[in-house]
């Protein structure tokens, strides 16, 4: 809690006669994080359970409740953020998006398939065009969702906000991606920087405008681990394929290795003929390093960018630790998966115990169908419920072991320096935003929270 106030008042005053001196501006604010893992687990489990029971309709409430919880955990200067989004407006937004997108997706897909089959005699062109066509809408939806979430976030009673500009973001994102792909990824930091700058420069806290400072080359240092990982993988591949080939005396070393890797049965035999196949194990540390490099880039760029964000009289500072974040990712995902696998095994054993081992044997031999005696709807029902429960459980575990520690680390490592400017901030008008994050919801974006 903020200290430094004078708390001698036992006398109640509803009107003040003497004008007090202006409060002394705070020097800086740390961000606290108060939520506990078990509280989150029960909230996620409870709301996920309702989501399954209502065939997915409760997901708007689930999302709202989880966001309220996460937001209220994050407390810059001891005062929680507040999420004021409403599940009903999300539902409305979803309906609006469905009305608009059904016509787009249904009719456009049909026409694309028609053209694809008529002119190219294959479905591939149609599917690709259909996928490419959704990409701009995807960026558009991403920006709109961010605008909605910021507009429904408050701190100390003051709203955040994002200016309009979703189509501007969509075409910029497309161009940046094109440049990045054409430069074989070398200009990726440039894209990261400019897209973040576009969003940050349109972000407000009350009347205060946020500015993204810095230059894009500063992000290259975040890419070092990934570059090292790529270089290392490249060297290993060159060594195994050309310098000291796995398959001695082959005319087309690369093609041969891949064709043998493709057919798993031959692969087992082929290994014996290969030259020191244990060298393939080197690819394991290389891929671990690649994953680390990717996570490191994603989060360390966030740190560098945060350090260069400021508003009039307020500066942000982040001391996020890339290694720590990668550990959270890897460990969290591993823990969540392990628990899921143990749970699955328990279910399989249960079925084994109930139906007996013969059911599995028959299934393997193609002699019988363990669900064959059940009415079809019951079998489908059981499969659907297991599928949805699995989905639910995975979501809950992901929240508890990945999202929670990530949010906590990001919150705790963030601080506001020089907050004198806060006293000048005043409220901004409400951003009505009828369609909420309906497009993002319909296109399955931002599934995390």
């Amino acid at each position: 809690m903020p200290a430094g106030w004078h708390h001698g008042a036992s006398r109640v005053t509803t009107s003040l006669t003497d004008i007090a001196p202006p409060p002394v501006p705070e020097k800086g604010l740390d961000v606290w994080f108060v939520g506990s893992r078990s509280a989150l687990f029960w909230l996620a489990l409870k709301s996920g359970f309702w989501t399954v029971l209502t065939l997915g309709f409760y997901r708007f409430w689930m999302k709202t409740r989880l966001r309220r919880w996460y937001w209220s955990s994050i407390r810059p200067g001891g005062h929680p953020l507040e999420y004021v989004g409403d599940p009903w407006e999300k539902l409305l937004g979803f309906f609006i998006a469905v009305v608009i997108l059904t016509f787009y997706i249904g009719i456009v897909n049909l026409l694309l398939m028609f053209v694809s089959f008529s002119l190219f005699q294959s479905s591939f062109v149609g599917y690709s065009a259909s996928f490419l066509g959704v990409i701009p809408v995807w960026f558009y939806a991403q920006y709109r969702a961010r605008r909605y979430v910021l507009a429904r976030t408050r701190w100390r009673g003051v709203r955040f906000g994002l200016e309009k500009g979703a189509w501007g973001y969509a075409w910029r994102a497309l161009v940046h991606w094109l440049i990045t792909i054409c430069s074989l990824g070398l200009l990726w930091p440039r894209m990261t920087f400019w897209l973040e700058k576009y969003k940050t420069d349109r972000t407000y806290f009350g009347s205060a405008k946020l500015v993204q400072g810095g230059r894009w080359p500063m992000l290259y240092r975040a890419a070092i681990p990934f570059a090292v990982a790529v270089l290392m993988s490249g060297l290993i591949v060159v060594w195994l394929v050309w310098l000291d080939p796995l398959i001695p005396n082959s005319a087309n070393p690369f093609g041969d290795i891949f064709s043998e890797l493709e057919s798993a049965e031959e692969f087992g035999f082929a290994l014996f003929g290969w030259d020191r196949p244990m060298r393939l194990l080197l690819l394991i540390p290389a891929s671990v390093l690649l994953i680390y490099g990717a996570v490191h880039y994603r989060f360390v760029t966030k740190r560098i960018l945060a350090d260069h964000k400021h508003s009039d009289g307020v500066r942000l500072h982040s001391s996020l630790n890339g290694l720590r974040v990668s550990m959270i990712y890897v460990l969290g995902t591993t823990i969540a998966y392990s628990i899921l696998v143990v749970g699955l095994l328990a279910i399989v054993l249960l079925v084994f115990g109930l139906l007996g081992p013969e059911a599995f044997l028959d299934e393997q031999l193609g002699m019988g169908d363990p669900l064959g005696d059940f009415p079809k709807w019951l079998a489908i029902g059981i499969i659907a419920v297991s599928y949805l429960s699995l989905f639910l459980f995975w979501g809950v575990l992901h929240h508890v072991f990945v999202t929670f520690p990530l949010m906590r680390h990001m919150a705790l490592t963030l601080s506001l320096h020089n907050v004198a400017g806060l006293a000048q901030v005043s409220q901004r008008a409400r951003d009505e935003f009828a369609e909420a994050e309906g497009f993002a919801e319909a296109l399955d974006l931002g599934a995390a929270i």
Binding site: L40, P80, V98
Partner: protein, 384 residues
């Protein structure tokens, strides 16, 4: 909590029925500036208001009616609560002392959702939009476009779908389901096609395959693919029944039903994926496969294919009742819902279709068999 016990009641005459609570560590936000205000708290039992005094601030205090104060839901952390007043959407009181809460009777009362009419209107629009799209617009467009797909495109579509079905029916990890290729058996099928007067020898001609699977079914795919399952041939007791089913499937091909169906599902699947989201995205894929296998056409398309079959059978001097015989045997054997569901068996108006096929039989006409007994034996052994 580090707060001291309740402070003594106010004795300064401000309110005789007031009760003072500690404002220590609590703060008030006025919803305009992000500045924390220290507070003094008093519950007035007579006026039923919470008086929030703001010492050290230029603003006067505020009075919140106790029954209009709500607590924020789903707040993390165990210390303190955040209160709001329904009359002011922005102001917040961060309360450290939970003792005060017992004076606030409706902390968790919810407001009815705003704009219910609008919500209902859009919900209706969404449902209607999807229904119109899947029920009317997509079929209409698909029917129109199906006639414009060039034969080469149809063949490619049929070929791709045929491969998908063969892979879906094979067990995982095994090569696609075999087609039966006994030469005498295929020659018998060829004779049957010629007997039915189906165009042969051109690129657009109907192509017939037999899949080695016990399912009792047959289906048509775009580009003139007619596919029988071995189970269908095993279930028939005369070649005329196979000829009747073949004529029916050729009828679908002639009417371009499979192409329409493929275009329709291309339009509809995307919409279903959109509706269910990642929550059940996988289900949409399952649905697609299910649709491919048990391709069920509209009632109109089925009777259209039946009519085509009656004429073809009549011209081949085979009794159209063979189609009804085949349907009847399938229905008696498998019932309407149980076992392996073929689109013949599951069709609700099967009985009327059986009756119809018998009604078109001409009185006193001489009907024969479509192929010789030897050919029929060869056809039965097509998968051996």
């Amino acid at each position: 909590m580090t707060t001291p016990p309740n402070l003594p009641e106010a004795s300064d005459g401000l309110s005789g029925n007031g009760r003072v609570y500690s404002g220590l560590n609590s703060s008030y936000f006025d919803g305009d500036a992000p500045v924390s205000h220290a507070v003094t708290l008093l519950v007035d039992n007579v006026a039923q208001v919470l008086e929030i005094g703001l010492p050290g601030s230029a603003q006067p205090g505020v009075r919140w009616p106790v029954d209009e104060i709500r607590q924020l839901d789903d707040t993390a952390g165990s210390e303190g609560v955040i209160l709001r007043w329904t009359g002011d959407p922005l102001a917040r009181l961060h309360l450290a002392d939970p003792d005060l809460l017992r004076h606030l009777p409706h902390l968790n009362r919810r407001a009815p959702p705003k704009g219910r009419g609008r919500l209902a209107a859009w919900a209706l629009a969404a449902v209607a939009g999807v229904a119109i799209q899947i029920g009317i617009l997509v079929p209409l467009l698909a029917d129109r476009l199906a006639t414009f797909v060039p034969p080469a495109g149809e063949r490619a579509l049929g070929e791709a779908t045929f491969e998908q079905i063969r892979e879906a029916l094979a067990d995982t990890g095994l090569p696609p389901l075999n087609t039966c290729d006994n030469e005498d058996g295929l020659a018998a099928l060829e004779a049957m096609l010629t007997g039915l007067g189906v165009e042969r020898g051109t690129e657009d001609a109907v192509k017939v395959f037999v899949l080695d699977h016990e399912m009792v079914n047959a289906f048509a795919l775009p580009g003139g693919y007619v596919v029988f399952f071995r189970g269908m041939i095993d279930a028939a007791i005369s070649p005329n029944e196979i000829a009747a089913v073949m004529a029916h499937e050729v009828g679908h091909v002639e009417n371009r039903d499979p192409t329409r169906h493929a275009l329709r599902s291309a339009g509809s699947i995307g919409i279903l994926g959109l509706l269910f989201g990642d929550f059940a995205g996988g289900a949409a894929v399952l649905f697609l496969t299910e649709q491919l296998i048990s391709a069920s056409y509209s009632q109109g398309a089925e009777s259209g294919a039946d009519e085509y079959a009656y004429v073809a059978l009549e011209d081949a001097e085979v009794s159209p009742a063979a189609l009804g015989d085949m349907f009847e045997r399938l229905r008696d054997k498998y019932g309407d819902t149980d076992g392996i569901v073929s689109h013949f068996v599951s069709h609700p108006t099967l009985t009327s279709r059986i009756d119809r096929s018998r009604a078109v039989v001409r009185e006193g006409a001489q009907y024969g068999d479509i192929i010789s007994a030897d050919d029929w034996d060869a056809l039965k052994a097509v998968c051996d």
